[in-house]
Symmetry: C2
Subunit: 95 residues, 2 copies
Amino acid sequence: MKQQEVFKAMADPTRRAILKRLQGGALTAGEIGAAFDITPASLSHHFAVLKQADLVRTERRGQFIVYSLNSTVFEDLARMLMDLFPSKGNVGGKK
Amino acid sequence: MKQQEVFKAMADPTRRAILKRLQGGALTAGEIGAAFDITPASLSHHFAVLKQADLVRTERRGQFIVYSLNSTVFEDLARMLMDLFPSKGNVGGKK
DNA sequence: TAGATAATTAGATATTTTTCTAAATATTGC
DNA sequence: GCAATATTTAGAAAAATATCTAATTATCTA
């Protein structure tokens, strides 16, 4: 996992909202964008950041581009956080 | 949990390294800073961001200020991530 | 093939963040 | 109280990020 990319991607509220919208299933860029008061160009930038972090997957369907969550990266991130704080049986974190 | 503050705090590699150093137990600002090629002032700024996010706690001990992890926020964050991605029994996420 | 629609890329600007130096505050020990 | 040490705060400069408009690419349909 590209740790830096993932954390950077998660740091923006618009991007977190995008991810939230994708919880219900895949959506086109336009469908996602409809919920935000932002230009398609800016939205596209956010998509690029999310893709860079491998948090979303894309697939062209004709004219549209369909975005969907890549759950495995969320799982990795959650696991990483767990490793980051000390707890019973895990004082120094793992290598 | 102040979601935005926490994610923003985690987005910087220096701050993540600071948190990592605190895994082994509480340290003074100076002890932490020794590992980074950065001025005390910049470091202090990072501490402020981490404190803002409630990821660390501080306690003055004489001349020194001792920093320690606030594990509960890590747990909250991990939980939040878990909620963010869909899985069996959790399709829409919770309110 | 031309026009319409969906989305991205390019380039510019505004905002935010990181970092620095210098000055200020808090505490210790003489 | 004064000098030394630890840390923070203030203010400025540099770097990164988010956003916009305009132009481009890809696809569909008539």
